[in-house]
């Protein structure tokens, strides 16, 4: 299964390379349009970076096949951020100063994004990220940054409503030490209190431990009726295993990026049974979501793949709209294609056609409507809730 995947990726890479060397069609002579991708390929984020990268490259490949943008082929320049702010800053400088990319897509860790963002805005390069820390969009980025991940308030509020709708009153939050840890807990608590419940305990743990038994015991002492696990994949797996061993059969909610199908496949099905998760999403029957799944050849994509799909599409459409590939053009035009009263489009190809036909468009993405506030946060989105049954994610509801 995994081997097959790798082979597919290799083929895809080879195909992209082949497209690159062929002197084809309209963009035969034009300089390729370089897009920077800075995502974790090694280090703690290494589990998520490659998935996002693949989703972005799939979109760009599709666009290239359809003739590129502004008559130019899109060429991605990929650098590894090593999940380390110092290394990421060096990589970003290379992308900006050597490759002259107008946009950098894909930073993951909040500290990496916060470190790279000043380099970007100072050199007028646009940045799209998945980092969830609330402080990211509060940086003085002058508009050179958008993030498709809902901030912790949007997320926690929706998750909280979902948890409350299950009839849970006493929620224990067990989360990794990260910028989103405290705000998430506070927003959850506020919402639950309004519904007659509360967060009864909040345990923050350290990453990279081989067991979290005592953390679980500590949370259980507050006698909760529901567990909200706020961590990344490696530590969430340890938590789920320890919960199973301890025979704790409470309802559990995990972040969608912590339990994508690939992660669930690493556990015996009884361990993940009943885990619930939610991710920012488009409508149920959204063609954006479905076409992203089809493009990647999977049944359900996770939140990161959906967002990566949207970054690539937004980049292409904004450049087409602005008729110029620069950071400033991206900054000034991204909202002209992502929101407003234009014709709704659900993927880059349709959007390009509509722009070519002179229409106003409003891109509706795989991760949601992709409408951005002035500071670069998404203004709202639906959440797709899923539940694990027999080791597989099954759709529950859309809120």
């Amino acid at each position: 299964m995994k081997g097959l995947n790798r082979r597919k990726v290799l083929k895809l890479a080879a195909a992209t390379a082949a497209v690159g060397t062929m002197p084809v069609r309209a963009y035969a002579q034009a300089e390729p349009l370089r897009v920077g991708i800075l995502t974790p390929l090694t280090g703690a984020g290494g589990n998520d970076g490659p998935r996002m990268l693949k989703a972005m490259q799939a979109v760009f490949e599709e666009v290239n096949k359809a003739g590129g943008v502004l008559g130019r082929r899109i060429e991605t320049v990929v650098e590894d951020d090593q999940t380390n702010p110092e290394a990421a800053v060096r990589a970003a400088r290379k992308l900006i100063e050597v490759n002259k990319v107008p946009v950098i897509l894909g930073t993951w860790a909040s500290a990496v994004t916060a470190a790279v963002a000043p380099v970007c805005w100072e050199s007028k390069t646009f940045l799209m990220t998945v980092s969830g820390a609330d402080t990211i969009t509060l940086l003085p980025h002058q508009g050179f940054l958008i993030r498709t991940q809902p901030n912790s308030k949007l997320q926690a509020t929706s998750h909280g409503e979902f948890v409350a709708s299950l009839g849970s009153k006493r929620v224990a939050v067990i989360g990794i030490q990260a910028p989103f840890a405290l705000p998430t807990k506070e927003h959850l608590d506020t919402l639950l209190k309004a519904k007659g419940g509360a967060v009864v305990s909040h345990v923050i743990y350290e990453k990279d431990k081989t067991t979290y038994r005592s953390e679980i015991d500590q949370a259980m002492r507050s006698n909760p009726d529901f567990l909200y696990l706020n961590g990344y994949a490696p530590d969430t797996v340890v938590l789920l295993r320890d919960l199973y061993r301890a025979n704790i059969n409470l309802g559990k909610f995990c972040q969608s990026y912590a339990v994508p199908q690939a992660t669930l496949d690493t556990m015996p099905p009884e361990v993940s049974e009943g885990v619930m998760t939610g991710q920012p999403s488009a409508d149920v029957e959204s063609t954006a979501y479905r076409s992203a799944c089809a493009r990647l050849g999977v049944k359900e994509i996770d939140g990161y793949e959906a967002q990566a799909t949207d970054w690539a599409s937004l980049t292409v459409l904004t450049i087409a709209k602005a008729k110029e590939a620069s950071g400033v053009a991206l900054k000034e035009n991204v909202r002209k294609i992502s929101q407003g009263s234009g014709e709704k489009v659900y993927n880059a190809i349709d959007g390009l056609k509509a722009i070519a036909a002179g229409k106003e468009i409003n891109y509706e993405g795989a991760s949601g409507p992709c409408d951005f506030t002035d500071i670069g946060d998404i203004s709202g989105c639906r959440f797709r809730y899923m539940k694990v049954a027999k080791g597989k994610l099954e759709f529950l509801k859309l809120v």
Binding site: K2, R6, L41, T42, G43, A44, G46, N47, G49, P50, Q177, V203, I204, Y205, E206, D208, K209, T210, T211, Y212, R213, S214, E215, D217, Q218, A233, P234, V237, V238, R241, Y244, R245, A246, N247, A262, T263, D265, T266, M267, P268, E270, V271
Partner: protein, 286 residues
Amino acid sequence: MEVLQLILNGLMAGTVLAVPAIGLTAIFAVLRFTNFALASHMTIGAFAGFIANTTFGLPIVPALAAAFVVAGIIGWMSDEFVLRPLRASGFVTTAIGSIALTIALENFVRFGFGNQMRGYDLPLRRDWVISGLRVSPQQFENLLIAIVVVAMLFAFLSMTRTGKAMRAVADNPMLASIKGINSDMVARLVSFIAMGLAGLGGMLSGLDTTIDPLVGFRTILSVFAAAVVGGLGSIPGAVVGALVIGVGEELSLLVLTPAYRTAVGFIAILLVLTFRPRGILGQRAY
């Protein structure tokens, strides 16, 4: 009751560290440097066990054996071709060189297998509950494995010719060479056994967590700490050190938040070393 459970949890966490810590300390006893390449050999062992288990359908014990053998062979080769030539330039150069080596090996694994997480095809068992205290069967077995490993090492070191030769080299390399003990052979053997143990430890750790190229990296600091606390070069010390680190981190939860666990571990190390600058059992190699 809470305290008892914390101590139990600490012992169980410690057993995962014990086996690789024995490997680290064994290399130190004979070759006199801290071999940080242990981290990547843990990862290699975890992956070797994964292939044995999922591709060849082997149950846990043969898979553990595969983890031991594969990591051991790679450990022997990497010492022979990469670290041995560095030893002439001093122990510190070798230790730092071993960090570069571990980065290279970790990335060989990444190159071949990618970053995605994997899991063994082994069932997970519920805890045993004994008069209100929970014990995990898996971790109980880990403890047994650690005990068996120590017992076998002891038997090997004290009863076999080769074992006695290794002890001689550990005690006094100069004298050993005068007596005609082939220290190169001993170095190969200790690298094989120690890195094999690292591989075993990697797979044990992978049973509790996930298997990816970072298996060893995640635990190497704790393993190093365990070996130092126990006394570098002392095999029982490594086991004691691992349990001290495990229990110390857990007991800290009585007064501090779990987010400070590692920091407490280091403070425990500082305390131990203040009173015993060479670790708890740092007086003897065996």
